[in-house]
Symmetry: C2
Subunit: 201 residues, 2 copies
Amino acid sequence: MARLQSGLLGELVTALRRLPGVGPRSAQRMALHLLERDRKGASDLADALVAAVAGVGHCRLCRALAEAELCDVCADPQRDAGLLCVVESPSDLLAIEGAGGYRGRYFVLMGRLSPIDGVGPEDIGVPELLARLRDESVKEVILATNATVEGEATAHYLAEQVRAAGIDVSRIAHGVPVGGELEFVDGGTLSHAFSGRIRLS
Amino acid sequence: MARLQSGLLGELVTALRRLPGVGPRSAQRMALHLLERDRKGASDLADALVAAVAGVGHCRLCRALAEAELCDVCADPQRDAGLLCVVESPSDLLAIEGAGGYRGRYFVLMGRLSPIDGVGPEDIGVPELLARLRDESVKEVILATNATVEGEATAHYLAEQVRAAGIDVSRIAHGVPVGGELEFVDGGTLSHAFSGRIRLS
């Protein structure tokens, strides 16, 4: 199919391609759909983008995305101030909230340690995290960074820092997913499941 | 994963879902990506949407999307004014232009006849098409509507109208795709390929 490369349509296709998971064909389909059949949708999307960029900032305490100074979780007095769960991104926070059950608070790193990319402790808010541990009555820090190499390294580094501040620190369990069949579980996960086995009493 | 349902972020997710092929999870991923990592991209997209909605209209002659009164094809004096290809949508026009080879002009129906949905001849611009046939030196109308039931019905209706205007009318060939293996071609296409067979001389 010929590509829309010039003019306003071409610029719209280019702008749509900056959305994650949108390639040249999808971007063109989206642009044609909006202009042929849903101009109201295009205007609404433009308004929503402008409003969100202007109105959504970061929570002063946990650094998650928030419209007010504090996000909903940090502003909720019913959440347990003694538990602080550290995650890499707002989507991780949403995943945990969606699972339900956790009633503590969060700290969002907005990234992970990555010396190769020049991402150090200051970039992921470690000073702010340690300041919170000094100021608040946190009893346990739960490290819920991803189970990737960088996520593990970040958890390892944070564990040292939190322990040095005299506060309990734990890591979420890694193992066989609930409902998962051993046959289809990768080797790394199986090793984790074995080394992290829990004695039944 | 918990859904972002309220506030500015929720509104952005709702607006993104109006893009074709974007479900709730993709929309949330797009919204978080834009706000966490690409706020410039979000603003650029909003600008591009506003500019395209305001600046892209329809070509006065062929009804394709165009920024000026005439689209690039209709404004090009080198195109053969004797050939008029009728397509359902601007993406069909782009597909034909991308294939290259066709040097005539276009007429875009912006739809297809569909009595069930209340889409009649006026809605797909048949009066404008017949007016063009009267005013211009068109020698042959090539019907390139889709090979769907509605596309075929539309082609059948248009063929009658164009013939009544005393102008040659043809339908693009349907058959086995170039490079296609018979084994994997559907029955409808095979029937078309047989009924439309061309005698070799």
